[in-house]
Amino acid sequence: MTKFRRIDPEISRRTFVNYSLGVAAGVSALSFITIVGSARPVSRQTPDKLPPAEGDILVYAEGTNTGKPVDIGTLEPNPTRAYPQRKTKSGETILKKGEQDSNLVLISKFPEGQLKAPTNLQAAPQGIVVYGAVCQHLGCQVNWKNQDQTYLCPCHSGNYDPKAGCKVIGGPPPRPLPQLPVRVEGTQLVVTGTYLIPPYGVSEEEYEQYKQLAEEATKA
């Protein structure tokens, strides 16, 4: 009678199957992650996304004069919406709407004596103040509230006082709206530098980089 002696293989069937399953699952999961990653498209830096910079001309963002330079004679406290427009050295004009339309600005003109600190008065000729229109809270565009002559964000009622540097007078925004320094040239408004404080979507740490980007934009 032969005696059957079972010899243990180096690796049991169960262990082998478990390992091979694990490896197959791991490889397919890894490749799946790369597919998911591609769901986020690459963002391309194009000239129209650059920050407003020195030399840009402010042009109407809406209405019948869309794309034409803002005429300072028509300005009033109720703000005019505008975008900065760049004329490159090669003579091309680029409408700089910015990332997420972040370059939309509000131009209000108040009687000169009404503007007070912390408004940067050098950057506000003839009582004309220019502010980024994008609320610092969650990126909605703010509206005019005629009742008390302030800017009000309809999304979560962030309230800004345009006569006092757009400081926050109500609601959740963490920072004032960014002021854009301008000067008057003829009847037009010309930007003299980028936003004085970081706009929505730019943190304090990224602000230096943002200013550098604006610097580069002036060379185009």
């Binding site: 769901a39 997420q100 909605c140 565009q141 309809p154």
Partner: protein, 435 residues
């Protein structure tokens, strides 16, 4: 024909196994069915709408004003759907069904909670149910954005902002979910893919699991079943008693939704217009209002940094706060220490479990207070509160109202039980006197 099918598919076995399932007869057991029927109406109307909707942000001529400024194709196609025979009606039915599905799901969940039906062995179905609620809300949210009018656009922007507020990875996650920097060219195709493929797929899968587990584990029996036939399953069979009730309920629901849709317009895209630089005042749908409320009353000064990650009020309120509430819902079967001990067959009388009842009512009260806080701007404008005292008032209310609701519930339950005991005493005394 029955025989022909039976010989080939053995349908008598299907009949024995599934179609004779006993359904308890109690009106509160219709809430889940209403949710399911709303889902079916949503899918049917959704298919029709998908045939005409164009998921694209390409600028095309405005159908209302062909010579005027161009509008996104998605917006234009919704205007065209409105122009179809019954097109606007179908949009409204779709929208109303979504609201009713959420409402029925919430009340269905309350029924399960207050009667303790989440207890062993039904914990898994409770978890699936909470997930269904979350995914229903997400599906509604993505559907909301599809008309791509000014309202939807602004809402999307806010949601993008909240997603982006997650520390460290926020920007990446927001861009991953919304196809790049807002508003990327592929934003609407992405939302469309979520709304008609991904999320309904998840919903259908979870619903199937929900139903199968319910059939496997059987309904909890309503209290009267205990008195009629203890430890026996009481109810009417699916085929044909319950199915008649179901069809009636479904048709009645459809009728009511159509009545609502005919007289109460929802989301008038023509009124909101295409995305523009003018921001309309936005409010989320009622089931997101509590998150909106948290955001409205959190001070912006609440912002701190840990290891380079910024924790701001949007993250704390919109992501962490909302996530915490969902986690509490998921944890219910684990928090209830009586849940894992024994098999649970009968729906419990809520008054026999005053603490659970009180906590449930306190949570409902909290969500209601937060939802009212969502109306802060209107309340401030109406002069009831001022900008300065609104936040403290809502903070105090969101603690005080749930606490008061809890103790009030406990008090009322105690009174009910005292009256019930007194009744029993009286009956016993009367019975003794009769003898």
């Amino acid at each position: 024909m029955n025989q022909w099918l039976d010989e080939r598919l053995n349908i008598s076995r299907l009949n024995d196994k599934f179609l004779r399932k006993a359904f308890p007869v109690h009106h509160s057991y219709f809430l889940g069915e209403i949710t399911l029927f709303s889902l079916i109406i949503l899918i049917l109307t959704g298919i029709f709408l998908a045939l005409f909707y164009e998921p694209s942000q390409q600028l095309v001529a405005n159908p209302l004003d062909p010579k005027g400024t161009q509008v996104p194709a998605a917006f234009a196609s919704v205007i065209q759907i409105n122009g179809l025979p019954y097109g606007d009606m179908l949009r409204r039915i779709h929208h109303w069904s979504a609201n009713i599905m959420m409402g029925a799901a919430v009340i269905h969940m309350m029924r399960i909670y207050f009667t303790g039906s989440y207890k062993k062995p039904r914990e898994i179905n409770w978890w699936i149910g909470v997930l269904l609620l979350v995914f229903t809300a997400l599906t509604a949210l993505t559907g909301y954005s599809l008309p791509y009018d000014n309202y939807a656009y602004t809402t999307l922007k806010v949601i993008y902002g909240i997603a982006g507020s997650i520390p460290w990875v926020g920007d990446f996650i927001a861009q991953l979910a919304f196809a790049g920097q807002f508003p990327g060219d592929r934003l609407i195709p992405r939302m469309y893919g979520y709304h008609i493929m991904l999320l309904p797929g998840v919903l259908l899968g979870l619903t199937a699991a929900h139903m199968l587990l319910m059939i496997k584990q059987k309904h909890t029996q309503p209290g009267y079943a205990k008195r009629i036939a203890y430890k026996k399953i009481v109810g009417v069979p699916l085929l044909q008693d319950q199915s008649f009730i179901m069809v009636m309920l479904g048709l009645l629901l459809l009728g009511i939704i159509m009545l609502f849709s005919a007289f109460i317009p929802v989301h008038p895209v023509e009124f909101y217009g295409p995305p523009s630089n003018q921001t309309p005042p936005i409010k989320p749908d009622w089931y997101f209002l509590w998150i909106f409320g948290i955001l409205a009353i959190l001070p912006s000064t609440l912002e701190f940094n840990i290891l380079g990650g910024t924790f701001n009020s949007e993250f704390l309120g919109g992501v962490l706060g909302a996530g915490l509430i969902v986690l509490i819902f998921l944890a219910v079967p684990l928090l209830d220490r009586t849940s894992g001990r024994e098999m649970h067959y009968y729906s419990e009388n809520p008054t026999d479990h005053p603490v659970r009842l009180g906590l449930g009512i306190a949570m409902t009260a909290l969500l209601l207070v937060l939802s009212v806080a969502g109306y802060k701007p209107e309340i401030v404008n109406a002069g009831v509160l001022t900008n300065e005292n609104a936040n403290p008032v809502f903070w105090i209310a969101s603690v005080a109202v749930p606490v008061i609701a809890y103790f009030l519930t406990i008090g009322i339950v105690r009174m009910i039980r005292w009256l019930r005991a007194a009744d029993e005493r009286d009956q016993r005394a009367a019975a003794a006197a009769d003898d």
